[in-house]
Amino acid sequence: MEQSAIQTDICIVGAGPVGLFAVFEAGLLKMRCHLVDALPQVGGQLSEIYPKKPIYDIPGYPSVLAGELVDKLMEQIAPFKPGFTLGERVEALARQADDSFVVTTSEGTQIACKVVVIAGGLGCFEPRKPAVGNLEKFEGKGVSYMVLDPEKYRDQKVVLAGGGDSALDWAIFLSDVASELSLVHRNNTFRGAPESAEKVFDLAKAGKLNLLLESEVTQISGNGHLQTVTVTNKQKEIQELNTDAFIPLFGLTPKLGPIAEWGLSIDKNAIEVDTFDYSTGVPGVFAIGDINTYPGKLKLILCGFHEAALMAQSAFTFVYPDQKLSFKYTTVNGVNAF
């Protein structure tokens, strides 16, 4: 473990509503929390997918906008000064000699903690991969699913596939960067932003983009590195394109991600827990909210809040093994800020 690791009591994986509320329940028991989320902002689905949608089953709120609930939760947990690592995905969980943990993110950030709480919701959003033979063999060798650094494609031959906004936007951007650019799309129209679609058609007319409509990439090949992409059109006519890079852009879909490799018991893409305290089979690791499963599980924010409260009681025994926990109401004890 590096000296620069963030030190905390509980590392919460996922900063959705349930992960946020877990900070409050932990804080009441004097446990500090650090949250990690793959998304660049807190709130999980509520912020990313439906911030303006009303939620009707939060007790005490006949109706609350998802984004507003996130704001209120942030206000509620502020006294407990949680730390945040956003825009980074958790990759590895390592048990230390003293039974504590080190969680490592995709960017190499390390969080040293006594307890890990997985509140990962649907999981993290990963690129959807088309069913093209050999695709995974060329990942990192010409095939990528997102454009991280467009300069990488300077003076390269590039084939894009897809018809959504990101395919259109990157086609426009890369037309000035790549030496040869092709866009392969299944239909002859685009559902993306009309002005982007228009621009793509203009680029094709100007000869800056090879637009292959009513076509799909059916095969890729190469010798170590990707060299050829095979495109088949509706009439079953086949053409081969020499290329340096193939970038399929078919949106994102939620996956459990690296958590699936942490040795936890997984059933139907969810983590099995004991309803006594929402512990997993690994001591010191808990799972709460939409990511867990147990008999009678309901994927409700409301239920996740309850799970967070019970989890905190057991987490206390890992953080303060020598202390006895006495239960106190907030009405009696108040909220004692850190």
Partner: protein, 113 residues
Amino acid sequence: MMDESFVSIEAEDLNGRKAHFEVPKGMGLSLMEVLKGEDFPILATCGGMALCATCHVQVLQGYDQLPEASDDELDMLESLPVLTDTSRLSCQLKIDAMHLPNLQVKVLGEDNS
């Protein structure tokens, strides 16, 4: 005369296994919810928000009689690597709005394996 209070559904999973359900109307269920309720292998990760497309089905019979897809559903379908001319998201297909005796679908999304 057809019985308007039920829809007869035949579904085929990713392994080609077929199952048949008589689904009553008036329960407010989507096709995805019916399939999940029957423990039919279909993932439906997002729970019905037209978000993950793991409940993507190809409609083999009854496509033309289904209510039209919303923009959200069409946008999601458009983004998929695999799409057929009769593709729908089963979470967006409300049983109560179906005016057809038989619906036949084949899962193209993902199952739990």
